[in-house]
Protein backbone atom coordinates (compact mmCIF):
# COMPACT_ATOMS: atom_id res chain seq x y z
CA UNK A 1 0.00 0.00 0.00
CA UNK A 2 2.84 2.37 0.90
CA UNK A 3 4.82 1.46 -2.22
CA UNK A 4 1.70 1.93 -4.33
CA UNK A 5 1.06 5.37 -2.79
CA UNK A 6 4.68 6.39 -3.45
CA UNK A 7 4.46 5.27 -7.07
CA UNK A 8 1.10 6.96 -7.59
CA UNK A 9 2.54 10.20 -6.24
CA UNK A 10 5.33 10.21 -8.83
CA UNK A 11 2.90 9.48 -11.67
CA UNK A 12 0.47 12.11 -10.36
CA UNK A 13 3.27 14.66 -10.15
CA UNK A 14 4.24 13.99 -13.76
CA UNK A 15 0.92 13.51 -15.48
CA UNK A 16 -0.75 16.50 -13.82
CA UNK A 17 2.03 18.92 -14.68
CA UNK A 18 1.81 20.00 -18.33
CA UNK A 19 5.30 21.53 -18.10
CA UNK A 20 6.86 18.18 -17.23
CA UNK A 21 4.99 16.40 -20.02
CA UNK A 22 6.13 19.04 -22.52
CA UNK A 23 9.72 18.77 -21.21
CA UNK A 24 9.57 15.04 -21.77
CA UNK A 25 8.01 15.11 -25.25
CA UNK A 26 9.68 18.24 -26.60
CA UNK A 27 13.12 16.69 -27.29
CA UNK A 28 11.52 14.15 -29.66
CA UNK A 29 9.62 16.86 -31.52
CA UNK A 30 12.66 19.14 -31.67
CA UNK A 31 14.87 16.31 -32.92
CA UNK A 32 12.31 15.52 -35.62
CA UNK A 33 12.00 19.14 -36.73
CA UNK A 34 15.73 19.81 -36.57
CA UNK A 35 16.82 16.65 -38.37
CA UNK A 36 14.11 17.08 -41.00
CA UNK A 37 15.21 20.67 -41.51
CA UNK A 38 18.86 19.63 -41.85
CA UNK A 39 17.79 16.88 -44.25
CA UNK A 40 15.80 19.35 -46.34
CA UNK A 41 18.83 21.61 -46.60
CA UNK A 42 21.15 18.72 -47.41
CA UNK A 43 18.98 16.98 -49.99
CA UNK A 44 16.52 19.69 -50.99
CA UNK A 45 13.05 19.09 -52.27
CA UNK A 46 13.91 19.07 -55.94
CA UNK A 47 11.90 16.95 -58.29
CA UNK A 48 13.25 13.42 -58.47
CA UNK A 49 14.05 11.54 -61.61
CA UNK A 50 13.72 7.78 -61.46
CA UNK A 51 15.50 5.50 -63.93
CA UNK A 52 13.68 2.21 -64.12
CA UNK A 53 14.57 -0.77 -66.29
CA UNK A 54 11.41 -2.06 -67.89
CA UNK A 55 10.68 -5.42 -69.41
CA UNK A 56 7.32 -6.02 -71.04
CA UNK A 57 4.68 -3.36 -71.19
CA UNK A 58 1.53 -2.51 -69.36
CA UNK A 59 -0.83 0.36 -68.71
CA UNK A 60 0.45 0.17 -65.14
CA UNK A 61 3.50 2.21 -66.17
CA UNK A 62 1.22 5.03 -67.29
CA UNK A 63 -0.50 5.04 -63.91
CA UNK A 64 2.91 5.19 -62.16
CA UNK A 65 4.02 8.03 -64.45
CA UNK A 66 0.87 10.00 -63.63
CA UNK A 67 1.23 9.62 -59.88
CA UNK A 68 4.88 10.61 -60.02
CA UNK A 69 4.05 13.60 -62.23
CA UNK A 70 1.54 14.81 -59.61
CA UNK A 71 4.46 15.14 -57.16
CA UNK A 72 6.65 16.82 -59.80
CA UNK A 73 8.73 13.62 -60.20
CA UNK A 74 9.67 11.95 -63.48
CA UNK A 75 10.44 8.43 -64.54
CA UNK A 76 12.66 7.36 -67.40
CA UNK A 77 11.93 3.85 -68.64
CA UNK A 78 15.06 2.03 -69.81
CA UNK A 79 14.83 -1.16 -71.88
CA UNK A 80 15.95 -4.20 -69.92
CA UNK A 81 18.56 -5.84 -72.14
CA UNK A 82 20.99 -7.36 -69.66
CA UNK A 83 19.47 -8.15 -66.27
CA UNK A 84 22.84 -8.63 -64.53
CA UNK A 85 24.01 -5.19 -65.61
CA UNK A 86 20.66 -3.68 -64.63
CA UNK A 87 20.87 -5.28 -61.16
CA UNK A 88 24.39 -3.93 -60.74
CA UNK A 89 23.16 -0.46 -61.71
CA UNK A 90 20.38 -0.63 -59.11
CA UNK A 91 22.83 -1.84 -56.51
CA UNK A 92 25.23 0.99 -57.30
CA UNK A 93 22.42 3.53 -57.22
CA UNK A 94 22.75 4.35 -60.95
CA UNK A 95 19.24 3.10 -61.60
CA UNK A 96 16.19 3.10 -59.37
CA UNK A 97 14.65 -0.32 -59.94
CA UNK A 98 13.78 -3.06 -62.41
CA UNK A 99 10.15 -3.65 -63.34
CA UNK A 100 9.45 -6.90 -65.23
CA UNK A 101 6.02 -7.85 -66.53
CA UNK A 102 5.48 -11.43 -67.66
CA UNK A 103 4.44 -11.94 -71.25
CA UNK A 104 0.93 -12.96 -70.29
CA UNK A 105 0.53 -10.04 -67.84
CA UNK A 106 -2.81 -8.34 -68.02
CA UNK A 107 -4.09 -6.51 -64.96
CA UNK A 108 -7.63 -7.56 -65.77
CA UNK A 109 -6.82 -11.26 -66.26
CA UNK A 110 -5.68 -14.02 -63.92
CA UNK A 111 -2.29 -15.71 -64.22
CA UNK A 112 0.27 -13.01 -65.02
CA UNK A 113 3.10 -11.91 -62.81
CA UNK A 114 5.19 -8.83 -62.20
CA UNK A 115 8.60 -8.58 -60.58
CA UNK A 116 10.12 -5.53 -58.90
CA UNK A 117 13.84 -5.50 -58.14
CA UNK A 118 14.88 -2.61 -55.93
CA UNK A 119 17.35 -1.49 -53.24
CA UNK A 120 15.62 -1.23 -49.88
CA UNK A 121 18.52 0.80 -48.48
CA UNK A 122 17.91 3.63 -50.95
CA UNK A 123 15.11 6.08 -50.25
CA UNK A 124 14.32 6.64 -53.96
CA UNK A 125 14.33 2.95 -54.79
CA UNK A 126 12.24 2.07 -51.76
CA UNK A 127 9.81 4.86 -52.62
CA UNK A 128 9.42 3.62 -56.18
CA UNK A 129 8.92 0.04 -55.03
CA UNK A 130 6.24 1.12 -52.54
CA UNK A 131 4.49 3.18 -55.21
CA UNK A 132 4.57 0.47 -57.87
CA UNK A 133 3.47 -2.11 -55.38
CA UNK A 134 0.56 0.07 -54.23
CA UNK A 135 -0.55 0.70 -57.83
CA UNK A 136 -0.41 -3.02 -58.63
CA UNK A 137 -2.17 -4.06 -55.44
CA UNK A 138 -4.90 -1.53 -56.19
CA UNK A 139 -5.66 -3.39 -59.40
CA UNK A 140 -7.19 -6.31 -57.63
CA UNK A 141 -4.36 -8.79 -57.13
CA UNK A 142 -5.25 -11.11 -59.95
CA UNK A 143 -1.57 -11.63 -60.60
CA UNK A 144 1.61 -12.45 -58.71
CA UNK A 145 3.87 -9.66 -57.44
CA UNK A 146 7.48 -10.65 -56.76
CA UNK A 147 9.60 -8.17 -54.88
CA UNK A 148 13.32 -8.59 -54.54
CA UNK A 149 15.96 -6.37 -53.05
CA UNK A 150 19.47 -6.24 -54.45
CA UNK A 151 21.02 -5.72 -51.02
CA UNK A 152 20.51 -7.71 -47.87
CA UNK A 153 21.06 -6.46 -44.34
CA UNK A 154 24.27 -4.77 -45.32
CA UNK A 155 22.31 -1.82 -46.63
CA UNK A 156 23.84 1.53 -45.83
CA UNK A 157 20.94 2.42 -43.57
CA UNK A 158 21.13 -0.83 -41.66
CA UNK A 159 24.87 -0.46 -41.22
CA UNK A 160 24.45 3.04 -39.96
CA UNK A 161 21.65 2.08 -37.62
CA UNK A 162 23.33 -0.98 -36.19
CA UNK A 163 26.44 0.94 -35.19
CA UNK A 164 25.02 4.28 -34.20
CA UNK A 165 21.43 3.63 -33.17
CA UNK A 166 22.24 1.74 -29.94
CA UNK A 167 24.39 4.65 -28.83
CA UNK A 168 21.66 7.13 -29.76
CA UNK A 169 19.08 5.04 -27.88
CA UNK A 170 21.25 4.98 -24.75
CA UNK A 171 21.86 8.73 -25.00
CA UNK A 172 18.15 9.46 -25.37
CA UNK A 173 17.31 7.16 -22.48
CA UNK A 174 19.96 8.87 -20.37
CA UNK A 175 18.76 12.40 -21.08
CA UNK A 176 15.13 11.40 -20.48
CA UNK A 177 16.05 9.69 -17.19
CA UNK A 178 18.18 12.65 -16.15
CA UNK A 179 15.47 15.28 -16.49
CA UNK A 180 12.91 13.43 -14.35
CA UNK A 181 15.18 11.71 -11.84
CA UNK A 182 17.24 14.75 -10.86
CA UNK A 183 14.07 16.74 -10.24
CA UNK A 184 12.38 13.97 -8.32
CA UNK A 185 15.24 12.78 -6.10
CA UNK A 186 17.82 15.58 -5.79
CA UNK A 187 15.04 18.19 -6.11
CA UNK A 188 12.94 16.64 -3.35
CA UNK A 189 16.01 16.29 -1.15
CA UNK A 190 16.99 19.93 -1.69
CA UNK A 191 13.46 21.20 -1.05
CA UNK A 192 13.12 19.15 2.15
CA UNK A 193 10.10 17.19 0.93
CA UNK A 194 12.03 13.90 0.93
CA UNK A 195 12.67 14.28 4.69
CA UNK A 196 8.91 14.54 5.22
CA UNK A 197 8.54 11.12 3.61
CA UNK A 198 11.50 9.73 5.58
CA UNK A 199 9.78 10.62 8.86
CA UNK A 200 6.95 8.24 8.02
CA UNK A 201 7.12 4.50 8.68
CA UNK A 202 7.57 3.65 4.98
CA UNK A 203 10.49 1.27 4.44
CA UNK A 204 13.54 2.89 2.81
CA UNK A 205 13.56 0.15 0.18
CA UNK A 206 9.94 1.03 -0.67
CA UNK A 207 10.84 4.70 -0.98
CA UNK A 208 13.72 3.75 -3.32
CA UNK A 209 11.46 1.46 -5.39
CA UNK A 210 8.72 4.09 -5.30
CA UNK A 211 11.11 6.40 -7.11
CA UNK A 212 12.88 4.03 -9.52
CA UNK A 213 9.81 2.20 -10.90
CA UNK A 214 7.61 5.21 -11.83
CA UNK A 215 10.58 7.32 -12.94
CA UNK A 216 11.65 4.48 -15.25
CA UNK A 217 8.17 4.34 -16.78
CA UNK A 218 8.12 8.11 -17.25
CA UNK A 219 11.65 8.10 -18.69
CA UNK A 220 10.54 5.49 -21.21
CA UNK A 221 8.04 8.02 -22.60
CA UNK A 222 10.84 10.55 -23.11
CA UNK A 223 13.16 7.96 -24.60
CA UNK A 224 10.47 6.70 -26.99
CA UNK A 225 9.65 10.29 -27.98
CA UNK A 226 13.30 10.99 -28.79
CA UNK A 227 13.67 7.66 -30.57
CA UNK A 228 10.61 8.34 -32.73
CA UNK A 229 11.98 11.80 -33.47
CA UNK A 230 15.14 10.22 -34.85
CA UNK A 231 13.44 7.31 -36.60
CA UNK A 232 10.91 9.52 -38.38
CA UNK A 233 13.42 12.16 -39.41
CA UNK A 234 16.17 9.72 -40.41
CA UNK A 235 15.00 9.22 -44.00
CA UNK A 236 15.20 12.98 -44.56
CA UNK A 237 18.44 13.40 -42.66
CA UNK A 238 20.39 10.50 -44.08
CA UNK A 239 18.73 10.22 -47.47
CA UNK A 240 17.84 6.58 -47.02
CA UNK A 241 14.73 4.67 -46.24
CA UNK A 242 13.88 2.89 -43.02
CA UNK A 243 11.82 0.36 -44.93
CA UNK A 244 14.29 -2.39 -44.13
CA UNK A 245 13.32 -2.08 -40.45
CA UNK A 246 10.37 -4.20 -41.47
CA UNK A 247 12.82 -6.97 -42.34
CA UNK A 248 13.67 -7.63 -38.69
CA UNK A 249 11.77 -10.44 -37.06
CA UNK A 250 9.36 -10.00 -34.16
CA UNK A 251 11.97 -11.62 -31.90
CA UNK A 252 14.52 -8.97 -32.86
CA UNK A 253 12.09 -6.31 -31.70
CA UNK A 254 11.29 -8.23 -28.53
CA UNK A 255 15.02 -8.42 -27.74
CA UNK A 256 15.50 -4.72 -28.47
CA UNK A 257 12.57 -3.86 -26.24
CA UNK A 258 13.87 -6.06 -23.41
CA UNK A 259 17.32 -4.48 -23.68
CA UNK A 260 15.85 -0.98 -23.59
CA UNK A 261 13.53 -1.93 -20.70
CA UNK A 262 16.48 -3.25 -18.70
CA UNK A 263 18.63 -0.19 -19.41
CA UNK A 264 16.09 2.42 -18.30
CA UNK A 265 15.74 1.41 -14.60
CA UNK A 266 19.51 0.90 -14.45
CA UNK A 267 20.18 4.47 -15.57
CA UNK A 268 17.35 5.84 -13.38
CA UNK A 269 18.82 3.90 -10.43
CA UNK A 270 22.29 5.29 -11.13
CA UNK A 271 21.06 8.89 -11.34
CA UNK A 272 18.83 8.41 -8.27
CA UNK A 273 21.81 7.10 -6.28
CA UNK A 274 23.94 10.07 -7.38
CA UNK A 275 21.06 12.41 -6.48
CA UNK A 276 20.75 10.85 -3.03
CA UNK A 277 24.48 11.39 -2.51
CA UNK A 278 24.32 15.04 -3.60
CA UNK A 279 23.24 18.00 -1.53
CA UNK A 280 21.51 19.87 -4.33
CA UNK A 281 20.19 19.50 -7.87
CA UNK A 282 23.18 21.51 -9.08
CA UNK A 283 25.64 19.12 -7.47
CA UNK A 284 23.71 16.09 -8.71
CA UNK A 285 23.62 17.54 -12.26
CA UNK A 286 27.39 17.95 -12.22
CA UNK A 287 27.97 14.34 -11.13
CA UNK A 288 25.35 13.04 -13.56
CA UNK A 289 27.04 14.94 -16.38
CA UNK A 290 30.20 12.93 -15.71
CA UNK A 291 28.13 9.75 -15.60
CA UNK A 292 26.56 10.64 -18.96
CA UNK A 293 29.93 11.29 -20.63
CA UNK A 294 31.16 7.95 -19.27
CA UNK A 295 28.05 6.18 -20.62
CA UNK A 296 28.35 7.87 -24.02
CA UNK A 297 32.03 6.96 -24.35
CA UNK A 298 31.19 3.39 -23.36
CA UNK A 299 28.44 3.26 -25.99
CA UNK A 300 30.63 4.87 -28.64
CA UNK A 301 33.49 2.43 -28.10
CA UNK A 302 31.31 -0.38 -29.42
CA UNK A 303 30.93 1.45 -32.75
CA UNK A 304 34.67 1.25 -33.35
CA UNK A 305 35.35 -2.12 -31.81
CA UNK A 306 32.87 -4.41 -33.51
CA UNK A 307 34.30 -7.69 -32.20
CA UNK A 308 34.49 -8.04 -28.48
CA UNK A 309 34.67 -10.93 -26.11
CA UNK A 310 31.82 -12.22 -24.02
CA UNK A 311 33.21 -10.25 -21.06
CA UNK A 312 31.14 -7.25 -22.20
CA UNK A 313 28.03 -9.01 -20.89
CA UNK A 314 29.01 -8.18 -17.31
CA UNK A 315 29.51 -4.46 -18.01
CA UNK A 316 26.19 -2.67 -17.49
CA UNK A 317 24.84 -0.55 -20.39
CA UNK A 318 27.85 -1.60 -22.51
CA UNK A 319 26.35 -5.09 -22.68
CA UNK A 320 23.00 -3.72 -23.85
CA UNK A 321 24.63 -1.58 -26.56
CA UNK A 322 26.61 -4.54 -27.90
CA UNK A 323 23.53 -6.78 -27.84
CA UNK A 324 21.44 -4.09 -29.60
CA UNK A 325 24.11 -3.85 -32.29
CA UNK A 326 23.98 -7.60 -32.73
CA UNK A 327 20.21 -7.49 -33.17
CA UNK A 328 20.30 -4.57 -35.62
CA UNK A 329 23.02 -6.29 -37.69
CA UNK A 330 20.49 -8.98 -38.37
CA UNK A 331 21.65 -11.52 -35.80
CA UNK A 332 19.59 -12.86 -32.96
CA UNK A 333 22.01 -12.96 -30.00
CA UNK A 334 19.33 -14.36 -27.68
CA UNK A 335 21.68 -15.68 -25.00
CA UNK A 336 23.81 -12.53 -24.89
CA UNK A 337 20.78 -10.28 -24.90
CA UNK A 338 18.99 -12.17 -22.14
CA UNK A 339 22.19 -12.35 -20.09
CA UNK A 340 22.62 -8.59 -20.52
CA UNK A 341 19.00 -8.01 -19.45
CA UNK A 342 19.49 -10.23 -16.40
CA UNK A 343 22.78 -8.61 -15.42
CA UNK A 344 21.33 -5.12 -15.86
CA UNK A 345 18.44 -6.09 -13.60
CA UNK A 346 20.89 -7.38 -10.98
CA UNK A 347 22.78 -4.07 -11.13
CA UNK A 348 19.44 -2.22 -10.83
CA UNK A 349 18.56 -4.25 -7.73
CA UNK A 350 21.98 -3.43 -6.25
CA UNK A 351 21.44 0.25 -6.98
CA UNK A 352 18.00 0.17 -5.32
CA UNK A 353 19.62 -1.44 -2.29
CA UNK A 354 22.29 1.30 -2.32
CA UNK A 355 19.63 4.05 -2.61
CA UNK A 356 17.74 2.53 0.35
CA UNK A 357 21.00 2.57 2.35
CA UNK A 358 21.62 6.20 1.37
CA UNK A 359 18.07 7.11 2.41
CA UNK A 360 18.79 5.55 5.81
CA UNK A 361 22.06 7.45 6.16
CA UNK A 362 21.74 10.56 8.30
CA UNK A 363 25.06 11.75 6.88
CA UNK A 364 23.68 11.94 3.34
CA UNK A 365 20.07 12.81 4.17
CA UNK A 366 20.55 15.32 6.96
CA UNK A 367 24.25 16.22 6.86
CA UNK A 368 25.01 19.87 6.23
Amino acid sequence: MKLLALMKKEFHRFFHDPRLIVTMLLPGLLIFLLYTFIGEIAYGDEAREFKVYLSGSSAVTVAIEQILAENGDKVEWLPLENEEEARAAVKEGEATAILKFSENFDPLQEGGSVSIVYDHGSEDSFYFESLASAVLTGMGMRFLIEEETVKEDTAVGAEFLSTLLPMLIVCFIFSACMSVTLESVAGEKERGTLSTILVTSAKRSHIALGKVIPLSCISMIGAVSSFLGVALSMPKLMGFSLGFLGDYSVWSYVLLLLLILSTVPLIVGGIAAVSALSRSVKEASAYTGVLMIFTMVLSLVTSFLPTMGSWVTVVPIFNAVVAMQGVLQGGLPVLNALLSVGINLVYTALLIFAIAKLLSSEKFMFGK
Binding site: L4, E188, R191, S195, V199, E362, F366
Partner: protein, 257 residues
Protein backbone atom coordinates in the same frame (compact mmCIF):
# COMPACT_ATOMS: atom_id res chain seq x y z
CA UNK B 1 1.46 9.12 35.77
CA UNK B 2 2.29 7.01 32.70
CA UNK B 3 5.56 7.71 30.95
CA UNK B 4 5.04 8.20 27.21
CA UNK B 5 8.58 9.38 26.36
CA UNK B 6 11.67 8.23 28.23
CA UNK B 7 15.14 9.29 27.11
CA UNK B 8 18.04 7.38 28.67
CA UNK B 9 21.55 8.80 28.34
CA UNK B 10 21.18 10.03 24.78
CA UNK B 11 24.47 11.07 23.22
CA UNK B 12 25.19 12.49 19.78
CA UNK B 13 28.49 13.76 18.39
CA UNK B 14 28.97 15.45 15.02
CA UNK B 15 32.13 15.68 12.95
CA UNK B 16 32.95 19.25 12.00
CA UNK B 17 34.36 20.06 8.57
CA UNK B 18 37.28 22.50 8.33
CA UNK B 19 34.81 25.16 7.21
CA UNK B 20 32.51 24.52 10.19
CA UNK B 21 35.53 24.62 12.51
CA UNK B 22 36.44 28.05 11.12
CA UNK B 23 32.85 29.30 11.51
CA UNK B 24 32.61 28.02 15.09
CA UNK B 25 36.16 29.23 15.82
CA UNK B 26 37.27 25.89 17.18
CA UNK B 27 40.11 23.54 16.42
CA UNK B 28 38.11 20.54 17.61
CA UNK B 29 37.17 18.17 14.78
CA UNK B 30 34.15 16.81 16.70
CA UNK B 31 31.38 18.51 18.63
CA UNK B 32 29.22 16.85 21.25
CA UNK B 33 25.67 18.08 20.56
CA UNK B 34 23.86 15.95 23.15
CA UNK B 35 25.73 14.49 26.09
CA UNK B 36 24.01 11.80 28.15
CA UNK B 37 20.55 13.39 28.13
CA UNK B 38 17.83 11.68 30.17
CA UNK B 39 14.29 12.89 30.79
CA UNK B 40 10.71 11.67 30.91
CA UNK B 41 7.45 13.09 29.56
CA UNK B 42 4.05 11.84 30.69
CA UNK B 43 0.94 10.93 28.75
CA UNK B 44 -1.39 13.85 28.04
CA UNK B 45 1.04 16.59 28.99
CA UNK B 46 2.94 19.22 27.02
CA UNK B 47 6.63 18.86 27.79
CA UNK B 48 8.90 21.72 26.75
CA UNK B 49 12.60 21.43 26.03
CA UNK B 50 13.93 24.91 26.70
CA UNK B 51 17.42 26.00 25.77
CA UNK B 52 19.51 28.46 23.79
CA UNK B 53 20.48 27.87 20.15
CA UNK B 54 23.02 25.06 19.87
CA UNK B 55 22.02 23.51 23.20
CA UNK B 56 21.04 20.23 21.48
CA UNK B 57 17.23 20.56 21.42
CA UNK B 58 16.80 19.92 17.69
CA UNK B 59 19.33 17.05 17.75
CA UNK B 60 17.40 15.47 20.64
CA UNK B 61 14.07 15.74 18.85
CA UNK B 62 15.58 14.39 15.63
CA UNK B 63 16.86 11.38 17.56
CA UNK B 64 13.44 10.88 19.15
CA UNK B 65 11.74 11.01 15.76
CA UNK B 66 14.37 8.52 14.41
CA UNK B 67 15.67 10.84 11.71
CA UNK B 68 19.15 10.42 13.20
CA UNK B 69 20.60 7.70 15.42
CA UNK B 70 22.12 8.28 18.86
CA UNK B 71 25.79 7.36 19.35
CA UNK B 72 24.89 6.05 22.79
CA UNK B 73 21.81 5.69 24.96
CA UNK B 74 18.24 4.99 23.88
CA UNK B 75 14.78 6.48 24.12
CA UNK B 76 11.37 4.88 24.30
CA UNK B 77 8.24 6.41 22.77
CA UNK B 78 5.00 4.70 23.70
CA UNK B 79 7.21 1.76 24.66
CA UNK B 80 9.13 1.50 21.37
CA UNK B 81 12.91 1.88 21.23
CA UNK B 82 14.25 4.47 18.79
CA UNK B 83 17.35 2.28 18.31
CA UNK B 84 15.73 -1.11 17.87
CA UNK B 85 12.28 -0.27 16.46
CA UNK B 86 12.58 2.97 14.48
CA UNK B 87 9.71 2.08 12.10
CA UNK B 88 7.33 1.41 15.00
CA UNK B 89 8.39 4.69 16.61
CA UNK B 90 7.56 6.57 13.39
CA UNK B 91 4.04 5.19 13.51
CA UNK B 92 3.40 6.50 17.02
CA UNK B 93 5.09 9.87 16.52
CA UNK B 94 4.07 12.96 14.60
CA UNK B 95 7.02 15.23 13.92
CA UNK B 96 6.87 18.82 12.77
CA UNK B 97 9.89 20.96 12.05
CA UNK B 98 10.62 23.75 9.59
CA UNK B 99 13.11 21.39 7.87
CA UNK B 100 10.29 19.10 6.74
CA UNK B 101 8.50 20.62 3.77
CA UNK B 102 5.43 19.79 1.71
CA UNK B 103 5.65 19.54 -2.07
CA UNK B 104 4.19 22.78 -3.44
CA UNK B 105 2.68 21.08 -6.48
CA UNK B 106 0.14 19.03 -4.49
CA UNK B 107 -3.05 20.09 -2.69
CA UNK B 108 -3.66 19.65 1.06
CA UNK B 109 -6.31 17.08 0.18
CA UNK B 110 -3.85 14.97 -1.85
CA UNK B 111 -1.05 15.28 0.68
CA UNK B 112 -3.29 14.26 3.58
CA UNK B 113 -4.26 11.09 1.71
CA UNK B 114 -0.65 10.45 0.65
CA UNK B 115 0.84 10.76 4.12
CA UNK B 116 -2.06 8.79 5.54
CA UNK B 117 -1.14 5.95 3.17
CA UNK B 118 2.54 6.37 4.13
CA UNK B 119 1.57 5.67 7.73
CA UNK B 120 -0.67 2.78 6.71
CA UNK B 121 -3.93 4.44 7.79
CA UNK B 122 -6.96 2.56 6.49
CA UNK B 123 -8.88 4.46 3.75
CA UNK B 124 -12.21 4.76 5.57
CA UNK B 125 -10.53 5.96 8.77
CA UNK B 126 -8.44 8.40 6.76
CA UNK B 127 -11.49 9.92 5.06
CA UNK B 128 -13.25 10.42 8.41
CA UNK B 129 -10.13 11.90 9.95
CA UNK B 130 -9.64 14.25 7.02
CA UNK B 131 -13.19 15.51 7.24
CA UNK B 132 -12.88 16.08 10.99
CA UNK B 133 -9.45 17.75 11.00
CA UNK B 134 -10.02 19.85 7.87
CA UNK B 135 -13.28 21.18 9.33
CA UNK B 136 -11.74 21.75 12.77
CA UNK B 137 -8.82 23.78 11.43
CA UNK B 138 -10.62 25.44 8.51
CA UNK B 139 -8.54 23.64 5.86
CA UNK B 140 -11.64 22.51 3.95
CA UNK B 141 -11.85 26.02 2.45
CA UNK B 142 -8.52 25.61 0.63
CA UNK B 143 -8.23 21.82 0.47
CA UNK B 144 -7.95 21.83 -3.33
CA UNK B 145 -5.51 24.76 -3.62
CA UNK B 146 -1.92 23.84 -4.48
CA UNK B 147 0.34 24.17 -1.43
CA UNK B 148 2.62 26.61 -3.29
CA UNK B 149 -0.31 29.05 -3.52
CA UNK B 150 -1.17 28.99 0.21
CA UNK B 151 -0.36 31.76 2.67
CA UNK B 152 2.16 31.04 5.47
CA UNK B 153 -0.67 30.62 7.98
CA UNK B 154 -2.59 28.22 5.75
CA UNK B 155 0.56 26.25 5.01
CA UNK B 156 1.38 25.97 8.70
CA UNK B 157 -2.12 24.64 9.41
CA UNK B 158 -1.72 22.03 6.65
CA UNK B 159 1.72 21.00 7.95
CA UNK B 160 0.34 20.68 11.49
CA UNK B 161 -2.62 18.58 10.41
CA UNK B 162 -0.48 16.32 8.21
CA UNK B 163 1.92 15.74 11.11
CA UNK B 164 -0.97 14.11 13.00
CA UNK B 165 -2.59 12.36 10.02
CA UNK B 166 -1.97 8.94 11.61
CA UNK B 167 -3.35 9.97 15.01
CA UNK B 168 0.04 9.58 16.76
CA UNK B 169 0.33 9.10 20.51
CA UNK B 170 3.20 11.56 20.73
CA UNK B 171 3.50 14.80 18.79
CA UNK B 172 6.93 16.40 18.56
CA UNK B 173 7.33 20.03 17.50
CA UNK B 174 10.73 21.56 16.91
CA UNK B 175 10.65 25.35 17.43
CA UNK B 176 7.04 25.49 16.19
CA UNK B 177 6.68 29.28 16.18
CA UNK B 178 10.14 30.15 14.89
CA UNK B 179 10.13 32.69 12.08
CA UNK B 180 6.34 33.00 12.05
CA UNK B 181 4.41 36.25 12.21
CA UNK B 182 2.16 36.79 15.24
CA UNK B 183 -0.99 35.57 13.49
CA UNK B 184 0.59 32.35 12.23
CA UNK B 185 2.28 31.80 15.59
CA UNK B 186 -1.18 32.01 17.17
CA UNK B 187 -2.42 29.33 14.76
CA UNK B 188 0.32 27.07 16.12
CA UNK B 189 -0.24 27.79 19.80
CA UNK B 190 -4.01 27.31 19.40
CA UNK B 191 -3.31 24.03 17.60
CA UNK B 192 -1.09 22.83 20.45
CA UNK B 193 -3.79 23.67 22.97
CA UNK B 194 -6.33 21.79 20.79
CA UNK B 195 -4.06 18.77 20.65
CA UNK B 196 -3.70 18.77 24.39
CA UNK B 197 -7.49 18.97 24.71
CA UNK B 198 -7.64 15.93 22.39
CA UNK B 199 -5.49 14.07 24.93
CA UNK B 200 -2.27 14.02 22.91
CA UNK B 201 1.16 13.96 24.49
CA UNK B 202 3.29 16.78 23.15
CA UNK B 203 6.99 17.39 23.21
CA UNK B 204 8.18 20.74 21.96
CA UNK B 205 11.47 22.55 21.81
CA UNK B 206 11.72 26.29 22.06
CA UNK B 207 13.81 29.17 23.32
CA UNK B 208 10.74 31.36 23.86
CA UNK B 209 9.96 31.63 27.57
CA UNK B 210 6.38 32.87 27.07
CA UNK B 211 5.53 29.82 24.98
CA UNK B 212 6.68 27.50 27.75
CA UNK B 213 4.84 29.51 30.39
CA UNK B 214 1.67 29.56 28.32
CA UNK B 215 1.54 25.93 27.17
CA UNK B 216 3.87 23.55 28.98
CA UNK B 217 2.96 21.40 31.96
CA UNK B 218 6.56 20.47 32.55
CA UNK B 219 9.86 21.72 31.24
CA UNK B 220 13.40 20.43 30.79
CA UNK B 221 16.16 23.02 30.48
CA UNK B 222 19.02 21.95 28.20
CA UNK B 223 22.40 23.64 28.29
CA UNK B 224 25.34 22.27 26.30
CA UNK B 225 23.57 19.01 25.53
CA UNK B 226 22.83 18.10 29.14
CA UNK B 227 19.73 18.47 31.26
CA UNK B 228 20.28 21.37 33.67
CA UNK B 229 16.85 21.24 35.31
CA UNK B 230 13.54 19.44 34.95
CA UNK B 231 10.10 19.70 36.52
CA UNK B 232 6.88 21.67 36.53
CA UNK B 233 7.11 25.40 35.97
CA UNK B 234 6.72 25.94 39.68
CA UNK B 235 9.54 23.53 40.46
CA UNK B 236 11.96 24.91 37.84
CA UNK B 237 11.13 28.60 37.67
CA UNK B 238 9.98 29.62 41.07
CA UNK B 239 7.66 32.28 39.58
CA UNK B 240 9.95 33.76 36.91
CA UNK B 241 11.12 31.35 34.20
CA UNK B 242 13.35 33.84 32.38
CA UNK B 243 15.20 34.86 35.55
CA UNK B 244 15.61 31.26 36.68
CA UNK B 245 16.87 30.21 33.26
CA UNK B 246 19.59 32.89 33.11
CA UNK B 247 20.66 32.12 36.67
CA UNK B 248 21.02 28.49 35.72
CA UNK B 249 22.84 29.38 32.52
CA UNK B 250 25.30 31.64 34.34
CA UNK B 251 25.89 28.96 36.93
CA UNK B 252 26.77 26.44 34.18
CA UNK B 253 28.61 28.64 31.70
CA UNK B 254 30.00 31.35 33.94
CA UNK B 255 28.80 34.18 31.69
CA UNK B 256 25.64 35.12 29.76
CA UNK B 257 27.26 36.25 26.49
Amino acid sequence: MEEIVRAEGLKKTFTLSKKQQRIEKTGEPRRVAVNGLSFSAYRGEIYGLLGPNGAGKTTTLRMLSTLIKPDAGDAFLAGHSIVKEPEKVRDVVGFLTSDLKLEGFFTPDYLFDFFGAMHGVEKGVLAERKQELFARFGIDKFAEVQVKNLSTGMLQKVSLVISIVHDPEVVIFDEPTNGLDVLTAKVVTDFLAELKAMGKSILLSTHIFSLVEKLCDRVGIIIDGTLAAEGTLAEVADGDLEKSFFALYQERKGEIV
